[in-house]
């Protein structure tokens, strides 16, 4: 890794550049990075984004990592958006500027390596790099208290929690009318609409959602539908999910529309009866907050940062037994006032994570970093 130490003495830098392993549209960490750039520029810093992998929708807004300036006079700081291991971590460690780390968490290798062996390797590397970066980073930002605890365990000295930065307009926009019409027309057949939003990935455990959904259809609601919205991470897991749905006779009841536009995503939230999250690992889980903001009750498995994000505004289940999850969803949807109470609590909870609040917390964190020895 050949680290360079914590960087040149503090002082107000002229620029705070961000470094991120990969960046792509419709991705929470990528979106957070773009909003952070806007905020840093508003604070008077020159701020560019550098990435190893620049995905669709980001060309012209992001520079290749090898163009990252290496300014040695202390006028350039680096904010590393950390969510996986790779060459980016080494570049940050070698950089002569002062280093800040924004930690989105790294998915544990055992959750993904069966499906995506290279990702398992990158995950292990990321955790090693995290330990190596700890003495080089005087100030770190974490997405949740859960993430902050991990940073503490890895030896980071000062950390502060800043919620995920978001695009203020994203969920306030009107639903895509075509998508909404299609989803509403499905409701004519009756039945609840389950929704989960997130990468189609093994650690998001959509297969457990399908199991619970199958149980729910068998016991409570034979007309229910399940929408699993999100881009696939690799082809094997989504292939298995499709095969699984077919094997259970749910081919027409389980939809996998992939990554959708912001307007279509709003349509999915509008049409959803319940949001069900059975992820094994989340550093924050923005879709839970989005569901709450759009008035969709949440049933979630209490793992990683999920309990912290849900708070007391959703139903947290202690294990993923399909029967337990199905009955929890049934109670939420049928018990008098339960659904309304959860929607009201969810809206109040989501109000604590608005883009304005997150932006203010981010500015405070950067100011604290500037004061940090």
């Amino acid at each position: 890794m050949n680290p360079t130490g914590p960087g040149v003495a503090p002082g107000r830098p002229a620029r705070i550049d961000q470094v991120i392993p990969s960046i792509i549209e419709h991705d929470a960490v990528s979106n957070h990075t773009f909003v952070a750039q806007i905020l840093l520029r508003e604070m008077g810093f020159v701020s560019e984004i550098y990435a190893s992998i620049i995905g669709p929708g980001c060309a012209g807004r992001v520079h290749p990592l090898d163009e990252l300036p290496m300014v040695e006079d202390g006028s350039q700081w680096i904010l590393y958006q950390c969510s996986i291991g790779g060459p980016t971590g080494d570049v940050v460690a070698r950089h002569p500027g002062r280093k800040l780390l924004d930690y989105h968490n790294i998915t544990p290798a055992p959750l993904v390596e069966r499906w995506l062996p290279p990702l398992g390797e990158e995950s292990r590397l990321g955790r090693r790099q995290l330990q190596q970066l700890a003495p080089l980073v005087p100030f770190a930002i974490a997405r949740s208290a859960y993430n902050a605890a991990e940073l503490d365990e890895n030896g980071f000295g000062r950390t502060t929690v800043v919620p995920l930065l978001g695009d203020g307009d994203a969920l306030e926009r009107s639903p895509d009318p075509v998508a909404l019409r299609r989803l509403i027309s499905l409701k004519e057949a009756g039945g609840a609409d389950w929704l989960f939003v997130g990468q189609i990935a093994p650690h998001k455990a959509q297969h457990d959602v399908v199991k619970a959904f199958a149980c729910y259809r068998r016991v409570y609601d034979r007309d229910a539908r399940l929408h699993l919205v999100g881009r696939e991470m690799g082809s094997a897991y989504i292939d298995a999910l499709r095969r699984f749905a077919v094997a259970l006779g749910l081919k027409d009841a389980v939809s996998l529309p992939g990554s959708v536009s912001a307007g279509a995503l709003v349509a999915y939230y509008e049409a959803a009866t319940v949001f069900v999250c059975l992820s094994d690992h989340e550093g924050f889980c923005a879709p839970i907050v989005e569901s709450m903001a759009r008035g969709v009750p949440v049933v979630a498995y209490a793992a990683a940062a999920v309990p912290e994000t849900v708070g007391d505004a959703g139903v947290l289940v202690p294990d993923k037994s399909p029967v337990l999850v199905a009955s929890a969803v049934h109670r939420v949807l049928t018990e008098p006032t339960a659904r309304d109470d959860l929607i009201a609590a969810g809206r109040a909870r989501a109000a604590r994570f608005t883009p304005d609040i997150a932006a203010a917390a981010f500015r405070q964190a950067i100011e604290a970093a500037l004061r940090s020895p």
Partner: protein, 65 residues
């Protein structure tokens, strides 16, 4: 019911993990090849492509990233 569902997913997972996954380059190669290979020779197309693809390294897990 839980055990049945677990077993059903494991069966799907086993099949999906065994299935070959092709890179984008490979998929393009296959589409192009189909244009030029006459219908009677199509049954042999897969075997020929497998021979061509291996040295090209296009049958790969890279699409999984």
């Amino acid at each position: 019911m839980t055990a049945d569902l677990d077993r059903a997913f494991e069966r799907s997972a086993t099949v999906a993990l065994r299935a070959p996954r092709y890179s984008e380059r490979s998929l393009v190669l296959r589409r192009v090849a189909r244009l030029f290979v006459p219908r009677p020779a199509r049954p042999y197309l897969r075997r020929v492509l497998a021979i061509v693809e291996r040295p090209l390294g296009v049958l790969a897990a890279r699409r999984d990233r």
